[in-house]
Subunit: 359 residues, 3 copies
């Protein structure tokens, strides 16, 4: 997209150019990193003076905001910036040249769209289908009977095992494993005996899997990742889990077997969820929470075992005052002892009152 | 195995057919997912009425259990179901065609059994041995001088580095790394200086490594994973750790260097263990526990720092009552202040008693 | 290096041979594992008697230490041992044969040093540069426009995506992903809308990445890993994080977006850091800590939410005494109730005192 004049960018973004200068911008960058030929943005939450230290050549700013630089006023500067970024993204052609690389091993029984791109050393098994516009980086391993929809992107070294199904526009980052065996055993005479895992992983549309994510196939049936859900790096999802639509799972989250995550649930990083737990729609889980029981829709939780976030903060605050509280209790105990002695002395002079008490 | 008549399945499982119907079953599925031609099972813990909503064509049930469907009575329905699943598992031939794929790079100095299967783009280094019946998926990287026993399964993109040794019937899932360098440094004049890691990883028989597991080689000697232990996805095991026999490590567990995990230890997900710690045989660790010291055999622990699970639950419960307790202590303090004033007033009328107390 | 006579090793290490025996040593091993032809070491912290049970053929020991075996006295036995290990490390030639393997796919537009080694099935994209002495294992995926300095080691299945830059002597272990997309979305009419991630990952010199580490590229600009920092297995570093020089990140640490980790910070395992947090130079974080706010240089923290380590230990100790404390508070409450009754009885005999109090 770039280089472009600022005025040309303003037209594309449907924004208002605040001149008079109209520099040519060749790149995009954050406020602190931007140089004289870069376009940057001033988030709505910031003040015009926050732009003073930036070397950016021009800025995207909110409505009516004026800074001491050429700028474009737009409704939402970050969103407009993301739009410019999209134009700047490395050309798909370069990372994913069209066609099937000569070294790819495609089983004759696979159905790869002519409008798909398959990188060097990919392997696609019998019975698998790759939709139009779907692009595979190098060394991707697609097992037998896998279905991948249209316009998906699968990065290098990803593994999609036999029978799994992906919708459209799914992004799979490097070293993701979809369809590994679930962790299921029965006690046997000579140790744990493996329970065969013959189900699949079924993924909706517009899902993104970060690098190193693992999703186990179901014992029977399907492990499900719902449309629009976004899964950050190194998340682990066990067999038979059902993740709803439009959930966001931050990095290193782990969800044990057969959990049901309803729609729109937001996970902080490193959250753990025990098995067979239902998390209600729209719940938000603070980082490192450990969930040990079902959560109502709209819950806000924190801590291990996870509890209501506000209560958790109150509990944490109270816990941190514990040493002082213990000192206070010790002091109260002493005072009570003193009071007892003093009262006993008084009572000694009033035998009748004392006797009343003791009866 | 399937399709089969229910009566034929009953024979294989040594169970009792409860007819009169004898449907043909073509698949297997969980109670909620099963359709009219699927076999499912009713776990011992459930009641016959729990089967009412299922569309399954037939069920495996416990002894003497009768449901409103064709069923087979067996001692342990889940175990019998697992046996049928094993028969249903995708044919080994299909995911792992026999023989060595033309694209595999096998060093002339490697010894690959004629009864082993090696997938596309595998690399096997000099001095390595693959036993009979062992099967490698695509893109497996076997370094030099690696020994893999018989009937092992190694899934795509797994990496087994130089010198490591695996027993028989070991399963290695995708993107596992066995034999990466341990995290060892010495302070040096220009920063941390790497301590060479020249040991190996030694794995017993019947071990399973989930997707994305990493096990570091020993600095010297061996990092050991004992026979029959099962390791879930994304577990991390550091250099010189000794894992005993028949342990189960749930997903995302991390064990720091030189720990000794005795036999039969069960880890919940995301547990962390500090270095040089011994965990006694048969210990069970609750999810997300953080172990900071040795644990006696048979321990049950929870929390960070990990403590006895029952005490931990008591502590957690007490912690959650803390805000009320603090309110109570404040109330007691007020009462004591009042008592002091009132007592002082009484004492004012008994100077001698008061003086006794103060001496 | 080995086999060597003990006297020859003493010369290399500049140590003092304590004879009279001068055995030939063929291997190196820890104290408990060493056999009769192995060299081992006695750490400074240990006593000579700790060597009694070892079968080692000879020992490296501290200054003036004498044991009942042939030994070499050196300033720092462990450091000297590491020096011998370095000599023992598997020959680079064997794991990384020189030259470019016939199966490697090197784009004509890539610049691979003639003194670099590229293993089987590696892929190197257009515009990428591999410096002299840099060695790639099998199946390494290097995207377009990647720069790798001199004397780097990149293990099998590692992925370095487009545009990333590595300094000299960087070690990248198996299944590492550098340059995956950051986890950035904007709310949109049909769900979360991906914010393009067009920045890079920039890595200094002498950095080591453990197996399975993931580092996301910046949204714009650079995610930075400073010179000399060491990163253990399965660590996750999000977009736009700045890691300083000579930091050590233990296994399974997760750092959220845009954090600044200053120089020399030491992370225990499984630590989590929320986004946009600054951790001051030289800070040490205990295992599993969860950091929710900025930390001053030189901090020592523990717990979730992370707090000063000493306070955290005090708080934990106080928490564990909570059940007893609650019992004590209940007891105090009873005593106060009794005191109140008794005092009321006394006051009943002194109406005037009581009235004073109530006014």
């Amino acid at each position: 997209m770039l280089p472009l004049k600022l005025s040309e960018i303003a037209k594309i973004l449907d924004g208002t150019l605040i001149g008079p200068d109209d520099p040519v911008l060749t790149g995009v960058a954050g406020l602190n990193e931007a140089g004289a030929s870069d376009l940057s943005f001033l988030a709505v939450a910031k003040r015009p003076s926050d732009a003073a230290g930036s070397d950016a050549g021009a800025l995207l700013v909110g409505p009516k905001v004026v800074v001491d630089k050429p700028c474009i006023q737009v409704e939402d500067p970050y969103r407009a910036f993301a739009q410019v970024l999209a134009g700047q993204q490395i050309e798909a052609d370069r990372a994913f040249p069209p066609g099937v690389h000569a070294t790819a091993v495609i089983d004759p029984g696979a159905d790869v769209s002519r409008a798909a791109a398959v990188g060097p050393y990919c392997v696609v098994g019998a019975g698998s289908v790759l939709g139009s516009g779907t692009r595979l980086g190098s060394h991707v391993s697609i097992g037998c009977d896998v279905t991948v929809g249209v316009d998906c992107v699968i990065h290098p070294q990803a593994v999609i095992r036999e029978g799994c199904r992906l919708g459209d526009r799914v992004i799979v980052h490097a070293c993701v494993v979809l369809g590994s065996d679930g962790f299921g055993y029965l006690p046997g005479p000579t140790g744990m005996q493996k329970v065969p895992q013959v189900g699949i992983v079924a993924v909706g549309d517009d899902v993104e899997f970060g690098a190193g994510v693992t999703v186990d196939r179901a014992t029977t049936g399907r492990t499900v990742i719902g449309t629009g859900s976004k899964i950050d790096n190194q998340v682990q999802i066990a067999h038979n889990v059902q993740v709803g639509r439009h959930c966001a799972l931050s990095a290193q989250v782990g969800i044990a077997g057969s959990c049901v995550i309803e729609d729109g649930v937001i996970f902080g990083g490193q959250v753990g969820v025990g098995d067979h737990i239902t998390i209600g729609a729209g719940t938000k889980l603070g980082g490192q929470s450990g969930v040990t029981g079902d959560l109502e829709p709209g819950s806000r939780v924190f801590g291990t075992p996870a509890q209501d976030a506000k209560e958790s903060f109150r509990t944490t605050a109270a816990t941190r005052r514990l040493p002082q509280m213990q000192a206070l209790v010790r002091e109260l105990k002493q005072k009570i002892d003193q009071l007892e002695s003093r009262l006993a002395a008084v009572e000694g002079q009033h035998p009748s009152a004392n006797n009343d008490q003791e009866n």
